[in-house]
């Protein structure tokens, strides 16, 4: 029998990465239903370390589902979370190691004073959806703990720690 090779890891940042998160969210339908209606469209912007074009995606959520992953250009969003690749990587590394973001690497903390990640918006009403749906958004990103992915330089997030559990620190 011919050897079957494992599929290549997803790449972060990429549309495929967020599509995989979308699929993971579908598999967790009960959990997201418990968190409640989740209606927002927001953007993520990952700036390149080498000054190149940022990677930008719009994520569209409706009811309990992620219903769209698309290019950010031309999409009307409630807010955009943006920051350097290093900040996103640190967040994703922590999630991968711990199974979920700890306090220091939660979206709330990272965007709190705008030092690591910043939130851009035109209307404070749109910005407030980051607060209204905070736990759903965080748990969406926490699903990246389940993904097999690599960064542009080929490196991978750290393996899950043996004691991996949902903990704040």
């Amino acid at each position: 029998m011919p050897a079957v090779s494992a599929p290549p890891p997803l790449r972060f940042p990429s549309r495929d990465f967020f599509e995989a998160l979308r699929e993971a969210m579908r598999a967790e339908r009960e959990r997201f239903s418990r968190l409640g209606f989740f209606d927002t469209t927001f953007g993520v912007r990952i700036s390149s370390d080498d000054g190149g074009e940022p990677a930008e995606f719009a994520l569209r959520f409706e009811v309990f589902d992620c219903v769209g992953v698309e290019s950010l250009a031309g999409v009307e969003t409630d807010f955009v979370v943006e920051g350097p690749f290093a900040a996103w990587r640190e967040m994703l590394d922590t999630i991968h190691a711990l199974g979920a973001a700890d306090t220091a690497h939660s979206l709330n903390t990272l965007t709190h004073f705008g030092e690591q990640l910043r939130v851009r918006y035109d209307d404070p009403d749109g910005h407030d959806k980051l607060y209204r749906f905070a736990e759903s958004i965080q748990e969406f990103f926490d699903l990246s703990a389940r993904l097999d992915f690599a960064y542009p330089d080929g490196s991978r997030p750290p393996a899950a720690r043996a004691e991996r559990q949902r903990s704040a620190r």
Partner: protein
Amino acid sequence: MAYYAEKNFFEDQQLIELVTNILSGNLTLEWYTAEGGRVRARPSDLRRGLTYEDCNLGPYGYDAIPEFVRNRYSMAARGSVLVSKLPDLGYTINRRSDVWSDNVVALYEEAKARRWAPAVDVPWAELTAGDSVREAAMAQLCTFLEEVALVAMEMPSKWVFSINQEFLELKSFLCAQMIDEARHVEAWRKRALTSGHGLGRASVSAEQALKELLSAETYPEASLGTNLLLGSFVLAMCRAIAALAETRADRLLATLAMQDVARSVAYGVGHMRYHLAHQPGKAVALAEYLDRTEHVVLGIAGSPEFLEPVVILAAGSVDRDRLAAGSRFARRWYTSAVEEYFERAAAVGLPRRERSRLPRLDV
């Protein structure tokens, strides 16, 4: 002041005969001939179920509520056929733009869908007796937040009966706000009581400031003061607690509370937008209300019963150097909260950046 029905129904022979006839199979069927609008509501999205938006149909819908409600002062269901002698409930808030917000129906559905139960949704067992100073600070902070939540619970309760029931979705949202705040009273209280320290000290400046907000003379002022002004700062308080949490339990508690408060803020913003779009002349009076009321922020957010616990939680200890770092966090927290409040106020047409006397801090 008691109200008495026009008859004692025990002594109403006509009614007793009618009941006897009906129970003998002789129906009047007057209700069946009532000519209300014929509609059939259906869920537009099965995931959401049948929402109030799906029921926004013809005379039953909220779109049909006029700016001035002139002829419906009883508890008759909106869109039902009115008959004579319906009692007047004495509603004093009968103008749509005094209460309405375009997002209130969605916020009501959201409030129900995103409900949580502090007893079981916060992993209390993960809270262990930790650093004593830190836990004492958390207990004090929760004592303070319970005071705030009590007032945030009472504000809608004070107004809901005065608002005409034609605005039933809005009144239901006010009830959801009360449930949200009852949940916060419960959550903050339970968190204080798990600390090993019990409840802390009441805050005289915060309580006087909260009472001033509660005593607003009109509903638009009350909504502006509690939902938009106070809500902006309470939202920021929850955000800070989540960012300073040492346990998943504290982070989740603060995050879930923040989500609830953010809905009230969203209603406050939407309400003011709607109100001023329909009554632009009120902008002057509301700006003056903020001129004389914004000082309450200092009484609340500046109270030692709030500020010192925040400094200690951010510092992680009472070590002098660490306290300096904690104070820096508190300054940045306040600055950020003021900034977001200014943004929301400007968005509704009440620019405060140049006009407000809220202190600006060096960060």
